[in-house]
C-alpha cells in the first residue's frame, strides 16, 4: 500500500509541484500535438537545470471537503536525486527524498519516518517521475502520455495519460506551464477523473542557485 501510495504521491506531486496557472483552462478547440522538436527543445532547456527552488501555493478542490484546500509551502530539487517538499499551511509537513531514502515528518506526530526503499520499484518510479517532469525527460514521458500544446506563449504542455494505465484511471490531464525561458515549471494543473482539480503555482522560482544546506533538513529548519 505504502508503495502504491508513494507511487501516486509522486505521480501527483508532479501535479502539485508543476501546479497550475488557474488561467490555463482546457480549450474547447483540441490543442495541437507537441512535436518531437518542441519536446526536445524543452528537454534540452530543462536538462541544463541543476537546481530549482520555489515557494508554492497549491489549491485543491476536493469532493470530500466543503471548501477549497489551499496549501502553502516550499519546494527544492537538486540533481540528481534530491528533492524536498515542505508544507507550512494549513498544517506543517515535509517529505524529502535523497538517493534511496525517503524521510517524512509532520507536526502532529513530530516524528521523522524513514523509509529505505532500496531497489523498490516505487523509488525508481519516483525518481523517474521527478526527473522526467522537473529535469526534462519529456521524450520518455511522451511514451506514456499524449502531449499537446494548448499555448505557446507562455509555453504550456498538456499531458493526457494513455489509456489502459493506472494513471489514466485517476488523472485526466496534467497541464504544465513553463516560466522564463522555459527553464522551470511555473504552474501545473492536475485534473482528475473524479472531477477534483489541483493547481500548483510556483512563486519566486530560482533556477540553478545553490540550495542552502539547512533547507534539506527534516524536520524542516526553523519549523
Amino acid at each position: 500500500m505504502k508503495r502504491l501510495v508513494l507511487l501516486f504521491v509522486f505521480l501527483l506531486i508532479a501535479a502539485p509541484a508543476l501546479a497550475a496557472d488557474p488561467t490555463t483552462q482546457p480549450t474547447t478547440q483540441p490543442a495541437p500535438p507537441a512535436s518531437t522538436e518542441l519536446l526536445e527543445r524543452v528537454q534540452k532547456q530543462l536538462q541544463a537545470v541543476n537546481t530549482v527552488q520555489a515557494d508554492f501555493i497549491q489549491v485543491k478542490e476536493l469532493a470530500v471537503l466543503k471548501h477549497k484546500l489551499t496549501i502553502k509551502g516550499h519546494f527544492a530539487l537538486e540533481k540528481p536525486d534530491h528533492v524536498i517538499w515542505i508544507v507550512n499551511e494549513p498544517v506543517k509537513y515535509a517529505v524529502a527524498v535523497k538517493g534511496e531514502e525517503v524521510r517524512q515528518w509532520d507536526e502532529d506526530t513530530n516524528k521523522v519516518q524513514v523509509i529505505h526503499l532500496g531497489g523498490d520499484p516505487t523509488f525508481k518510479a519516483i525518481n523517474e517521475q521527478i526527473n522526467s517532469w522537473f529535469m526534462g525527460n519529456y521524450k520518455v514521458l511522451a511514451q506514456d502520455y499524449d502531449v499537446t500544446v494548448p499555448s505557446e506563449k507562455p509555453l504550456t504542455l498538456a499531458f493526457a495519460p494513455k489509456g489502459g494505465t493506472m494513471v489514466a484511471k485517476i488523472l485526466k490531464q496534467i497541464e504544465v506551464t513553463f516560466g522564463k525561458e522555459d527553464q522551470y515549471i511555473d504552474t501545473m494543473v492536475i485534473r482528475e477523473q473524479s472531477g477534483s482539480v489541483t493547481t500548483l503555482h510556483y512563486i519566486d522560482a530560482k533556477v540553478n542557485e545553490p540550495v542552502k544546506k539547512e533547507l534539506w533538513e527534516i524536520p524542516p529548519h526553523g519549523r
Partner: protein, 792 residues
Amino acid sequence: MADETPAKRPRKRWILSIAFILVALSIAGFFRLQIDSSLEPLLPQDSEARQTIVFLRDSTFASKALLWFKLTDDNATTAQLIAAAEDVKRKLDPSLISRVIAPPGEANAMDEILGLIEHAGELLNQQDLNELSGLTTPESLKKRMRENYLQLTKLEGSFMMGVIRRDPLGMNARVLGRLKSLSDSMGYKVEVKNGHFVHPDGRQLMLVLDTTASATSMESSRQLVAHLNSIAASAPPGVKITPIAGQVHTAQNDSTMQRDMKLAGILDSIGFLLLFILVCRDWRVAAVFTLPVIAIGVALGLCALVYPRLSAMVIGLSASMAGSAVDYGIFVYTAVWMGTHPHQDMKRIRKHLLLSLLTTMGVFVAFIFSYVPAYRQLGYMTCVSLTLAMLAALYVLPLVVRPGAKVMALGSGMPLHRWGKLARPILIVAMLFFGAALFVGSGVRFDADLSKLDGVSQDVRDNEAAFHRAFARSEADFAILVVAGDTLPAAEHENDKVVQQLASHFKPGELISLTNFWPSEATRNENLARWRAYWSPERIAALKANLAVAGEPYGFSVDAFAPFFNSLTAGPATRQSREIISSMQEQFVAHASGRVQLLSYFEDTDANVTAVRNMTRGNPNAQVISQRAMGQAFAESAASETELLVSISLGFIIVSLLALTRSVIKSILIMLPAILGVAAMLATLALLHLPMNVVTVIAAIMVMALCSDYGIFAVFSWDEDETLFGQGMMSMHLSSITTLIGTSSLLLAHHPALFMVGVSLTSGLLVGYLTAFFVVPGICYVLNLDKKVRTA
C-alpha cells in the same frame, strides 16, 4: 568341455532346463518392468523426505519456469525489452508452456485497492473488531479526522481521498498492511509495466511460465529446456534471455551423466581391449564378462516380477556389481585354463566361490530388510544376479572355456611364501597407513544434502545467483508448509486451522501464509457476519453523527463518507479485488493429483522446521517441504536403519566365513582388504573434502563386497601354495585391474555423484587390492598360517 561323457548329459539338460525356465520368467518380468528415474525410491517409505520428492514431482509448484530478459545494449529501452518478451510469448510452444503468468492489470489497480477496502469486513477478524470499538469514540474520531485532513494536504492527498471516503476509520491499514507484508516477504523486486514483471531498473524483465514439465521428469525437462534454450538463442540483438528453472538442473544432470558415462565407456573399452590384447588373447574370455551381464539381465526381469517399478539407480548399481560377478568368472576361467580335469578343478574352487558370493551377498541380504524401497530392490536384485552369475560361472562357463588358453604370465612368478616373507616390512607400513586412514577418515561426516549431488554447470549456478541478486527481496531460504484439501475452500479451511495452530511458535510475520491476508471462505463468511452484526442501525447512526461533529473543524462535507456508509447498509459498490487475490494465490496455491495445496513459507531453520514438523505430526493433510526437513528425515532414517542393517550384514558375513573357513584368523584375513579399503576410501573423501552421502555409502558397500573377493583369492592362493601369478592371485590381479579400469574412468567425470563414486571406489579398491597382494601374504607368513592350517 572336452571330456563330455554320457553321465554329464543329464546334468547339462538340467542346466539348460533351469536356464530356460529362468529366462522365460525373466522375459515375463520384463513385460511388467517400469523404470523409475526419480529419487523417490531412494527415500525411506512414509518419510518426509519422500513426501518432499513426491510433492516436487506432482505439484504444479515445481512445474514453473522463468525466462530472464536483460538488456545488453546501453542504449536499448524498456520498450525494446517488453517487445522482446511479447515476441517470445508468441513463440512459446503450448504443448510445453501451459500459460504465461500475467501480473495484475495496472489499469485496475486503483479499483482493486478500493475493492479490498470496501470488502474489508470479510478480512477483519474478531481482534480487529475489538479494536474497532475503540476507534469510534468521539475522542478517537476527532483524532482520526485530523489525520484524514493531514493526509489530504500531503502529496498523496488526491489519491487518498478515495480511500478516506471508503474508510474514514482507517481500518484499511490492517487489510492492506497484511497484503503488503505478504507481498514484501515473498515477492520479487518488480514493477508491472505493460502487463509484464519489469525490474525497477527498466533493463530486466521476467516472464513467469507455467509448464507441463515437472522438474522431476527427465524427458519432459529435456524437451522444455531445449525449447527454452532455442528461445534464448533467438533473442533479438541487445537482449539476453536466460532460462531459470528446476528443469534446467534435471536436464543438465542427465546430459552431464550421459557425457560422463560415454567417456567412461570409451576409456573402459580401450582398457579392456588392451587387457585382452596384452593379457588374455583368447576370445572365450569374452564369456567371462558376458555371462555376468546376461545374469544381470535375467535378474532384472526376475526382479520386475516382485518390484515392477524399479529404480534406475538400482539397476545401475546392480550392473556395477557385475565387477564382483566377473570375479567368479575369472576364478573359474583361470582354474579351467590351468587344470587338466575341469570337473575336479571346479570342485576345488567351489568352496571359495561360495565364500565370495556369501561375503558379498551378506551386505545385500541386509538391504532386503531396509525401510528404503530402493535398498530393498537393490538387495533383492543383487542377490539374484550374483547367485545367477555364480551359477553361470560354475555350470555354464566351463562349457565354453577350454584348458590351455593364452593368459600372459599365468602360473609364473615367485612362490607366495617367498613373497610373504619379503612383504613383512610392508606390514608395518600397512599398520601405520591403517591408523592414519582411520584418523583422517573419522573426520568424514554424513551429509544428507542432496543438492551437493547436483551436477549443474557453474554457468547455471552463476545465472541463478545473479537472478536472485537482481530480483529477490529476501536472502533467507524458505521452507514450505503444504496443507492440502480436495477443493480450494477445503484446503483454505485446513490451512486456517494449521496456521492458527502454529501461531504459538512464530512471531507475527514470520509465517508467511495466504490466510494472514486472505483466509478461507468459511472464515471470511464468519468475519462478514460478525462485521454486519456489529454495524447495527443504531451504531451506524451514532457514527454518522459523531463523524459529522469530528469532521466539522476541517470542513469535511456532509456526504464525505457516503461510500463507507453505503457499503455498510447496501453492501460494497465495488467488486471484490479478484486480480490482487489471484495474483497472491499464484504464489500460495498449487495443485497436485487432483488436490489443492496451500503453501505457507517460513525461514528454513532447524528450530522452525522441528517445531512445524512436531506441531503438524499426525495431520495427513499437512507436510513440511524443506532442505533441512529432508536432511533431518534422512539422518533419522539412516540412524534407525544403520544398526539393523549392520547387524544383519555382519551376522551373515561372520557366520558364512566361519562356516566355510572354520578359522577365525582366515575369516579376518579375508575381510582385511575390505576393512583397509573402506578406511582408505573414508580418508580419501576426507582429504578431498567430500562427504559421506547416499552415493558414497553405496560405494563403500561395493568396496566391501569386491575387496572381500580379493581377500578370498589371496587366502585361497596361500592355501594352494601358489605363485604370485598363480590361479588365485591371477584371478585377483585380473579382477582388480578390470574393476579399477572401470572406476578410475569415473575420476574424469564432471557430475559430482559419479565423481564421488569414482573417487570412493578407486581409492577403496586400490587399497583393498594392495592389501590382498602385499599384506595378506605377509600376515600369512608371519603367522605361519600354512603350518597351522595344515596341522589343523
